[in-house]
Amino acid sequence: MNFQHPYSELLRTDRLPHIWCPGCGLGIALDSFCMAIAEMKLPLDKLAVISGIGCSGRIAGYLNVDSFHTTHGRAIPFATGLHLANPELNVVVFSGDGDLVGIGGNHLIHAARRNLNLKVFCVNNFIYGMTGGQMGPTTPPGAISATSPFGNIEYAFNLPHLAASCGAVYVARWTVLDILKLKKSMQEALNKKGFSFIEIISPCPTLYGRFNNQNTGVEMMRYFKTHTVHNPKANLSEIEISHGGQIVVGKFLDIERPTFMELYRKVVQERVKRTLDEKYEEKAYPQEHT
């Protein structure tokens, strides 16, 4: 019998099986995305997915769309150029927490500030997975990792709070257990004009859970199940994730603000159009070089 993957249209099936470990949540995040775009019947030729480096960085390459696997942390600025060069494209940045918030944090805050029309899906597994489980900017305080063997002494970023305060117009957080809500959120982001940010909490049993009393993917998912609180009205400054603590999820922000491209068209290009003829009359020197 010839079994086909239900999303074989959307995936580069010749690249499967994927590289992710058993119990990893990235497959679910990718599946939610496939569900979202399949349901929306998005024109796939006008969809571009950009990833950085890391386990999550592999997502772009599995999708059968124009996909770019850039350098570590640089998915957002690459996507910025792509989006501005062709604003018709629906540009999605799909990458990990270490990539987008660690090494690429500067780009995240500035892209949000500019309200570029990018959809950023940040898979947060609390750890640098690909390199072997080092602590990162989202590792909860106290957690054990390869580079915090005595427990992490740093505070972690609260990503929805960060994105919202930098100017994102759409902010949500879900765990990979909330697959339908995640899908819906992705669809909303894809339809949204402006910088949209979804934090996707995902288990990494291999390199995070095992060292932090959650040995398997199932155990980590059970933790998500028992500790998730759906509260879209939560005060964003209070929803940081602590080790073994509550995970507040929901769609926290959905507002309107002119995008970079809208303002570029309105302010820059129209202004140029208005003054151009005048200016060239002024500057038109009599003699032409021959």
Binding site: D45, D66, H69, T71, L84, N106
Partner: protein, 384 residues
């Protein structure tokens, strides 16, 4: 003139940076991402005003890392793109210049060199990034770099840089220096129809038959852009013809020699040097950028003293014109290399000369230029 708002074809009195910016527009550049840095900022300022006039996009990014990536993204989005910077920013761009090499993304990076290392002499001349241009990103690769000596040459080399980047699908580095960037001179802009502009070579193959990294003419694959239905995968990881990442020796052995051979096998096409009074010269001064102008003056002074001195001016510095240097080395007593650094391209000259003649070095740490009389003195020492 009103219809396209490209620069007027006439004589202008502008500085090198402005000449570069106008040339970029003529070469078809429609995207600029940059970060303010002396002494290159005039390029960004000029394009901030001019790009919207020709329907292009200007964006000031948060740093040079972002700028370089935005340019690469814009190129895959279908535009010709450029960034401009100076030493510290050039250092930040290095990783993603490597990404451009690996993904074969045509683009132009201008480095208006200042005195270094570190912050160094932010407002004063230097030529200390020449080896960084060649070797600054990690891994094995070949690159193209040009050095203008005047605003007029900055103009032409900017167009040449865009053409070469499209032809070979490599990032092309324009290694200007502060003096050429800030010097105002007469710049003649010819009518656009007299300029040779190399368009991007897009594939004619339909999706399905096209492979993103299949070698075509000169070993260079044909381009597509995102959104055209080709569903490409582009990665900085070692990849096969389809663009799929494969981390193994075989794929690396297939890919890296091809990337390097694009330049090495077409090396002859990339020789661009100019010689002055070299027919009978016994000593040839070798230089590039602003220094090449000093050298021409030295040659004049020397000829007045009946010293047989010539000048070799390097226009394309990378790939290095080995043959040209070797031929001269076989004819002359000495090559005197002058550059505003403590010894970079002189190593290449020594290597290329293969011991056929003496190679002398006259360096300058930056912040100013060589004094012609100092060079003349060095020349006279060779004679004695």
């Amino acid at each position: 003139m009103k219809n396209n708002h490209l620069p007027l074809s006439q004589s202008h009195f502008i500085n090198g940076n402005e000449a570069c910016a106008e040339a970029a527009l003529l070469a078809g550049c429609r995207f600029f991402a940059g970060y303010p840095i002396t002494p290159s900022t005039e390029i960004a300022e000029h394009l901030a005003e001019r790009l919207p006039e020709v329907g292009g996009i200007f964006i000031q990014m948060e740093d040079e890392i972002a700028s370089m990536n935005a340019v690469l993204g814009a190129v895959w989005g279908g535009l010709k793109g450029m960034s401009a910077t100076s030493g510290p920013g050039f250092s930040l761009m290095m990783e993603n210049i490597g990404l451009a090499v690996m993904t074969e993304t045509p683009c132009v990076v201008v480095d208006v060199q200042r005195g270094g290392p570190s912050t160094g002499l932010a407002t004063l001349v230097g030529q200390g990034d020449m080896m960084q241009a060649r070797w600054g990103s990690h891994g094995s690769y070949e690159i193209i770099a040009l050095c203008p000596s005047s605003p007029q040459e900055f103009f032409y080399q900017t167009i040449q840089a865009f053409n070469l980047s499209e032809k070979f699908r490599v990032p092309v580095l324009l290694m200007a220096d502060e003096m050429v960037g800030h010097m105002s001179e007469k710049v003649v802009i010819p009518p656009i129809e007299k300029l040779e502009i190399y368009p991007r070579r897009y594939t004619l193959k339909p999706p399905g038959e096209y492979k993103v990294y299949q070698r075509a003419e000169n070993g260079v694959p044909e381009m597509v852009k995102a959104g055209d239905g080709y569903r490409i995968h582009v990665t900085g990881t070692t990849h096969d013809e389809r663009g799929y990442p494969f981390m193994n020796e075989e794929t690396q052995k297939e890919l890296i020699p091809r990337l390097v051979d694009k330049i090495r096998k077409n090396h002859k096409e990339l020789i661009d040097t100019k010689e002055f009074f070299t027919e009978d010269a016994e000593v040839v001064l070798v230089g590039y950028g602003i220094t090449a102008r000093t050298l021409r003056w030295v040659a004049h002074l020397a000829r007045e003293k009946n010293l047989k001195v010539g000048v070799l001016k390097l226009n394309i510095v990378w790939p290095f014109p080995d043959e040209v240097v070797l031929n001269l080395a076989k004819k002359v007593k000495a090559l005197v290399v002058c550059e505003i650094n403590m010894g970079q391209m002189v190593r290449e000259v020594e290597r290329a000369a293969k011991g056929f003649c003496e190679v002398k070095f006259m360096g300058h740490p930056g912040g100013g230029m060589h004094s012609p009389t100092d060079i003349l003195e060095a020349v006279q020492q060779v004679k004695a």
